[in-house]
């Protein structure tokens, strides 16, 4: 039944560009990007129990890798860009992770926040390399070697790029599904539930937290690449701590205790934000209120609400 729902969703997403406006379709691109990023983020948060307030750092690494590779190094292959960005992210994740996983709970959050801001100030200050507060341009890449020259920017984004991103989301989603169902994933959950007991059962907590950290960095970077190509720009604000906060918000909105929660969260958040922004300039306030409601009343997010509703329907 779940498989059927997933296939239906994929089909719907594939058909989407044919039935809705290009504007709406371009909204889907950041949704895909954040969907991938959040799948990785939730491996660390929902499955391992570590709340990072600095993961936007890796999204920014992805975006800036795309910018540097396309605009400065002349690398146009999307595949190479993704690999390069992921490699850079994992490279950074290892020392950051090594330092951070020594701590748990709030200390982990604060330390990751500090690292995120460290990167942000790096991006801001070294404007020779990073373009400072104006950021860097990201040029259009080649998808599987194809340039699609005859398509203008929008047509490229809502056409080949859209489908490529959808496919990448499906692929990375499948990989993450296998990861969380694996023995490794089980050990991560053990760490989340009771780290001390897990160690007594032979779970190598620190090492596995580091691995989860690295994998989440990988996913966030891929999301960052997709985001940057869609916007055409890599911006230092991508690394700001409030952006990390948004990642957490999106995850919890969808439901961190469920595999699909973050995906639903990404889509809902992007959609909600764009709608609110068109209605009021005080959309942040509304988002804040929504977050309060989630935290206080619906901690399991939209998925939790749906599950409760479904259980109630089944009973009656």
């Amino acid at each position: 039944m779940r498989v059927a729902a997933i296939i239906a969703a994929l089909v719907a997403l594939a058909v989407l560009p044919r039935v809705v406006s290009p504007y709406f379709v371009t909204l889907m691109l950041p949704a895909f990007a954040y969907g991938i990023a959040l799948l990785g983020f939730n491996l660390l948060f929902g499955y391992t129990g570590l709340l990072s307030f600095g993961h936007a750092l890796f999204v920014a690494i992805g975006a800036y890798s795309a910018a540097v590779m396309t605009a400065k190094l002349g690398v146009k292959s999307f595949e190479l860009i993704v690999l390069g960005a992921a490699f850079a992210a994992v490279l950074v994740a290892i020392p950051v992770g090594l330092l951070s996983v020594r701590y748990v709970r709030i200390f982990f959050g604060i330390l990751t926040l500090a690292f995120g801001m460290l990167f942000h100030s790096f991006l801001f200050k070294f404007y020779d390399i990073t373009g400072g507060d104006t950021g860097l341009r990201v040029l259009r890449p080649l998808l599987l070697g194809f340039a699609f020259q005859d398509l203008d920017k929008t047509a490229f984004l809502v056409g080949p790029f859209y489908y490529y991103c959808l496919a990448l989301l499906a692929l990375l989603g499948f990989v993450m599904w296998r990861i969380v169902g694996s023995p490794f994933g089980l050990h991560l959950m053990a760490i989340r539930e009771n780290r001390r007991k897990a160690e007594y059962l032979g779970v190598r907590a620190r090492l596995f937290c580091l691995l989860a950290f690295a994998i989440s960095a990988f996913y966030c970077a891929v999301g960052g690449v997709m985001l940057a190509i869609g916007i055409g720009q890599a911006d230092p604000e991508l690394a700001y701590w409030t952006h990390s906060g948004e990642l957490v918000f999106m995850t919890v909105l969808g439901g961190f205790a469920n595999f699909f929660g973050p995906l639903i969260g990404a889509f809902s958040y992007i959609f909600l934000k764009s709608q609110l922004m068109s209605i009021t300039e005080y959309w942040r306030f509304v988002m804040g209120v929504i977050l309060v409601l989630i935290v206080v009343l619906f901690p399991r997010g939209l998925v939790g609400v749906a599950q409760t509703a479904w259980a109630r329907i089944k009973r009656s």
């Binding site: 948060f45 709340l51 307030f53 330092l99 020594r102 701590y103 748990v104 709970r105 709030i106 200390f107 959050g109 604060i110 330390l111 926040l113 500090a114 690292f115 801001m117 460290l118 100030s121 790096f122 200050k125 070294f126 700001y240 701590w241 409030t242 906060g245 957490v248 918000f249 919890v252 005080y282 959309w283 942040r284 306030f285 988002m287 804040g288 209120v289 977050l291 309060v292 935290v295 206080v296 901690p299």
Partner: protein
């Protein structure tokens, strides 16, 4: 040499203000184990309200040299007003996982961001030259605005006051007992609810007063809430979460480093601070005065 002292004093002034915010953070964390991401928002609120209050006062005919007391009163007032309702909101997540507590304070950051814009507008607000009404002090060839010196003294006084309050008064002892062991305190008849409400409001007031005191030298702006959080967190990480002494030393370190960095390596400003944060954490994972937690 003069330039150096000038610099140092500027750093100490910034440290004085930072200490107030950090002390508020430490107090709330020490007792309620909540890290308040909205501390910067309180700071900004204090700043905006301080500017507004001084402008009202002057428009109402008050003498310019009264602006320091007005700022302090404004800071205390606005802190006392918003502290209790926000604590009431946080009460709903006291028993919950830390992640949710953090998220709730993040929601407050979002809400405050737009609330501040709604009430005070998008442009930075400042007091202009009002601060100079106190003139400058001179010690030898070193000149320091009297206002800055007053703030430093006030901050030190508050530091000692807080210390005395925590160590010597009955409520201070109750507070520390509740921080150590909530259940035990409750069993001994302490009204923990009231302690939490009072502590949170006190922490809020420290933040709003800090913000109010800074406005003569810096404009109240919408960037304040999110920027201050980072510095404040650097202070508590260096000093150690939950430690008042740590807040003081951490604030001094961050304040002076920032002053030095701005003067000598402008590009590095915050970078230098983060490097110190990370270095401290490697050497002493719990910060300089914090209790080791794992």
């Amino acid at each position: 040499m003069n330039a150096f002292f000038d610099l140092l004093l500027g750093g100490v002034f910034h440290a004085a203000v930072l200490f107030l915010v950090a002390a508020g953070l430490q107090l709330v964390f020490g007792v309620q184990k909540i890290v308040n991401l909205a501390c910067g928002s309180f700071y900004a609120l204090g700043a905006y309200f301080g500017v507004t209050a001084v402008k009202w006062a002057i428009a109402a005919g008050a003498a310019p040299y009264l602006f320091l007391p007005v700022l302090i009163v404004a800071g205390i007032a606005i802190g006392s007003i918003i502290g209790p309702p926000i604590e009431a909101l946080l009460r709903t997540v006291y028993r919950r996982d830390e992640a949710f507590q953090l998220l709730l304070t993040f929601a407050l950051v979002l809400m405050f961001q737009d609330a501040l814009r709604f009430f005070f507008g998008a442009n930075p607000q400042q007091l202009g030259d009002t601060a100079m009404v106190y003139g400058t002090l001179s010690a030898g060839s070193v000149l320091v605005p009297t206002y800055n010196a007053l703030v430093i003294i006030a901050s030190v006084a508050i530091a000692f006051g807080l210390g005395a309050f925590l160590q010597r008064t009955r409520f201070g002892r109750i507070l520390r007992a509740t921080a150590e062991n909530r259940e035990m305190s409750e069993a001994m008849g302490v009204n923990v609810r009231r302690v939490y409400a009072t502590v949170f409001t006190l922490g809020t007031i420290l933040g709003t007063v800090g913000g109010a005191l800074v406005v003569p030298t810096a404009a109240a702006s919408l960037d304040m809430p999110v920027e201050l959080v980072v510095e404040a967190f650097a202070v508590v990480v260096i000093g150690g979460l939950g430690s008042m002494r740590g807040a003081l030393i951490g604030a001094l370190i961050v304040g002076i480093m920032r002053a030095l960095a701005i003067r000598y390596y402008a590009e590095l400003e915050m970078l230098a601070i983060y490097v110190v944060v990370i270095a401290v954490l490697i050497a002493r994972p719990a910060g300089l005065f914090g209790k080791p937690v794992e």
